[in-house]
């Protein structure tokens, strides 16, 4: 049993992909949450110089610190058997993760810039196009899971994206995409995912 600690702000945002992976696996971990910097800078100011790159999230796994949210998540996915079952599947999973991260990073930019017109355009064009491409991909893979007809981190990360966009924008970005919608519902009903989503702290981001 590894000793696991995840350090981030009291937000979903860039730590939630790791929290979902940890929840799915049933791994006990310390969910360390710092006050969001816009509520109180002090805790983060104190911790920042102790982090490898002046950023969080950080994952501490049996005393070893890993930074960079996607490196942490990919590590956890491998640990829990969700990263893809061979080299090709791992690449196919990574492809889906990167597509989602591109969409998410674009949205976060517009969010932090308080660009409401930009956010609207992003949803109507970039997101709609991206989701259409993901729906086609899911169809081409047999319609049940994004990669290899088997549940993987790609499916969990797509759930994270749709769920988080719903919470941030109050819009269902999967509404026009039935196979993705179905996949997201099925991931949501996985017992550990449901339990985590129902019980996690409610935060703006």
């Amino acid at each position: 049993m590894p000793t696991v600690k995840l350090t981030y702000f009291n937000l979903r945002a860039r730590a939630e992909p790791c929290r979902l992976l940890l929840a799915y696996s049933g791994t006990q971990y310390e969910d360390e949450r710092l006050t969001a910097p816009w509520d109180d800078m002090a805790p983060w100011t104190a911790l920042k110089p102790k982090t490898p790159w002046g950023q969080i999230p950080m994952l501490t796994w049996d005393g070893e610190v890993i930074a960079q949210s996607m490196a942490c998540a990919r590590f956890l996915a491998r640990e829990f058997g969700l990263a893809g079952r061979n080299s090709m599947e791992m690449a196919q999973v990574d492809e889906i993760i990167d597509v989602i991260q591109d969409l998410l990073n674009a949205y976060y930019s517009l969010y932090h810039a308080k660009d409401t017109a930009g956010q609207q355009k992003h949803l109507e064009t970039t997101v709609a196009t991206g989701m259409g491409q993901l729906e086609k991909k899911l169809e081409s893979r047999g319609g049940q899971f994004m990669v290899g007809n088997a549940f993987s981190w790609a499916d969990l990360h797509l759930f994270f994206y749709v769920n988080d966009m719903q919470l941030m924008t109050n819009k269902a970005v999967d509404a026009a995409f039935p196979k993705i919608q179905n996949l997201v519902q099925r991931v949501a009903s996985i017992p550990n995912i449901k339990a985590w989503v129902d019980s996690r702290p409610a935060t703006a981001l």
């Binding site: 799915y24 696996s25 049933g26 829990f80 058997g81 079952r85 047999g142 319609g143 049940q144 290899g148 007809n149 088997a150 549940f151 196979k179 179905n182 099925r186 009903s189 996985i190 017992p191 550990n192």
Partner: protein, 204 residues
């Protein structure tokens, strides 16, 4: 496996062919679903085919020209081909353990049914099955509660779903909530849902 030429030969029944059909459905494998009239309806086709089968029994699976007999050997083969047999040697054993528990229940029930042993069947339904389900519930709890083996979907989950979906009295599931949740989640898999809704309707 998507390129393999696959034919499953069985009677026009679910029974011992259905575990294979569920696997093939889950895997998205195109196959010829050859169905013979049950012998009590018309034995002609089976009488003609029987001597051509390795052991005088069905199902037989023809996979790219190679014939495999014995329903569970066929099932384990398909499970491996579609990647749900277990990811390590130990997981494969854990999957096999669950399959064997379910097969014991199926075989016992079939014996009693064909022997027309009403007393035995009643005991089977009211004692044996709930006891086994209770043991399976403990197993899934010990594995984290989401899937029977390795916290990951496998043939064990699919076979358990297949067995439970055939039970005439589903109220027995009320005592085993994690298994109940698992079987609902398996039923919701798109390929399983599509197959179950579209397969021929047969008595057994």
């Amino acid at each position: 496996h998507k390129m393999a030429s696959v034919k499953l030969t069985y009677f026009n029944l679910r029974a011992r062919g259905e575990p294979l059909r569920l696997l093939l459905a889950y895997g998205g494998v195109k196959y010829e679903d050859e169905r013979l009239s049950p012998v009590w309806v018309d034995p002609t086709a089976w009488n003609e085919l029987k001597p051509q089968t390795p052991y005088g029994q069905l199902p037989v699976l023809n996979w790219d020209g190679t014939v495999i007999s014995q329903s569970m050997a066929c099932a384990r083969f398909i499970a491996k081909e579609i990647g749900i047999a277990g990811r390590t040697n130990l997981e494969r054993a854990q999957v096999d353990e669950i399959i064997d528990v379910i097969q014991d229940l199926i075989n016992k029930g079939a014996s009693l049914y064909f022997a027309k042993d009403d007393e035995g069947l009643k005991n089977h339904m009211t004692v044996t099955i709930p006891t086994s389900l209770g043991q399976l519930e403990k197993r899934i709890e010990s594995r984290g509660g989401q899937f029977m083996v390795g916290n990951s979907f496998s043939f064990a989950d699919l076979h358990l779903y297949g067995y439970v979906s055939e039970l005439p009295d589903k109220s027995v599931l009320d005592g085993v909530p994690k298994i109940k949740s698992l079987t609902e989640r398996v039923a919701n898999l798109p390929n399983i849902k599509t197959w179950v809704e579209s397969r021929p309707v047969t008595d057994m």
